[in-house]
Symmetry: C2
Subunit: 311 residues, 2 copies
Amino acid sequence: MSKILVFGHRNPDTDAIASAIGFSYLAKQKFHLNTEAIALGEANEETKYALDFFNVEAPRAITSAKEEGCDTVILTDHNEFQQSILDIEELTIWGVVDHHRVANFETESPLFFRAEPVGSASAIIGRMFQENQIAIPKGIAGMLLSAIISDTLLFKSPTTHSTDKAIAKILAQLAGVDLDVYGLNLLKAGTNLASKSGEELVNLDAKTFPLSGKSVRIAQVNTVDIKEMLCRQNALEEAMKSENKAKGYDDFILMITDILNSDSELMVVGDNVKLVKEAFDVEWESNHAFLKGVVSRKKQVVPKLTESYAR
Amino acid sequence: MSKILVFGHRNPDTDAIASAIGFSYLAKQKFHLNTEAIALGEANEETKYALDFFNVEAPRAITSAKEEGCDTVILTDHNEFQQSILDIEELTIWGVVDHHRVANFETESPLFFRAEPVGSASAIIGRMFQENQIAIPKGIAGMLLSAIISDTLLFKSPTTHSTDKAIAKILAQLAGVDLDVYGLNLLKAGTNLASKSGEELVNLDAKTFPLSGKSVRIAQVNTVDIKEMLCRQNALEEAMKSENKAKGYDDFILMITDILNSDSELMVVGDNVKLVKEAFDVEWESNHAFLKGVVSRKKQVVPKLTESYAR
């Protein structure tokens, strides 16, 4: 049987990498597949911290399955083709494990597809190990745990599902770490922003949303020191303007999220600054605003903007 | 919480009805949802036999969720929107349980989506009861069992998965029936073809396939008496020609499947009869041909035609 590649989305975060590692192992045990976990890009600093901590090898970064001599793949933490490997439309998709909406996805044949509206794909995989009574190796338990912590911001994000914390507790025990202590250290490892340029910061974790015909780019950075980022406002705004010009976005919004207190600062540049400001019932000062209790782009920012842009 | 409707595909077969009944019950127990199993059409004779046998009420047939005051639904045994309820694009899809390819499907938000390449959606649901250690009531066990028997032609179809027979054995025990005796009686109940007109027969279970730019309709009827159907060849060919003319199909193929011996006779009318005949390495006599061991439209007929039409 030829090799099946298992990978998360492009521009991988900890859940993209951990879910691929976890499901690749599970698929070998449960379905007797010949799998290899790979990645569609380099691991970020948070993910590297987790890989180092649990002594797990980082998956190789590749861009084409055909070049690897593979024609069958498994997608984790994504399903939309534009977030997947470049030659996805030429490949057979054996399966998907995901926690996002289903869209821009199509197969010719029946497949294994498991999606649930929970905090991270790794939480689903953790529960699949349990359902099938397959033992979770320590390193894999640590990586799955890291992904749940990362995606839910240590259970503070409104995307957190009640089952996420339950499986995280079990994984922490298997991985031999204190959930809260390790969790905060992991999140802090991803907040080393000082050494990054404005351009790097606004591209770390950015997604494009079509809102009432406008192309709106929304980036998010996690930090333990919002002030440090506010001091760099000029450089960040320049980087956002350059992105708008180079990529044709109408507006660029930056969420600077305080992972300790679970609040965010918003910055915005573009043609529709007024619509962004009207979306939130807060005071704007020098083109930035403090959003108390806001940490989720998907659940707390995009819906407000969708309404405002539609007015 | 407002009611969530659970239903299988239009033109429902036993798996469409049984999977809706089974998952509606499971969702109440596992997810505490307020569900109702309904159907997108009347039950066929095979399904009615199973409902009567296990004393289960047939789900109501409806065509619009909004008219029922419902805006949230669960799809079983299908996911493609053109096979679903008329107002599907205006509704929130809570979840999907299916065993077909994923296509023509899109949601705005994350959802519960479970698909596996097995013989029937009801087999997945039977295993979900087990995974979650939820007791299966006798009537529901009987309906899920009936759907597995129906979709796999009592495990003779090449669409059968190794897990289908295992779960069917457990369901037969819970339902208090002998798997082989009940199975054959159920399949026979769906083969009462004598009372049906040619038009009814070619529409009982028909699907359209785009093959190299041609629109090819492929119908399948199950029987225990192929000869009876061959005697009606003229009437069947007339009905197939009428369908081609009325609906704009290029070709119409009828599979008459002998469920006792697991063979099929093929009939064809249309512009590309030559391509259909060349697709199979058999002798044609008076415009029909015997295909030894062929019972699956999806796995044994469509692939051969796809190749032949592409030449």
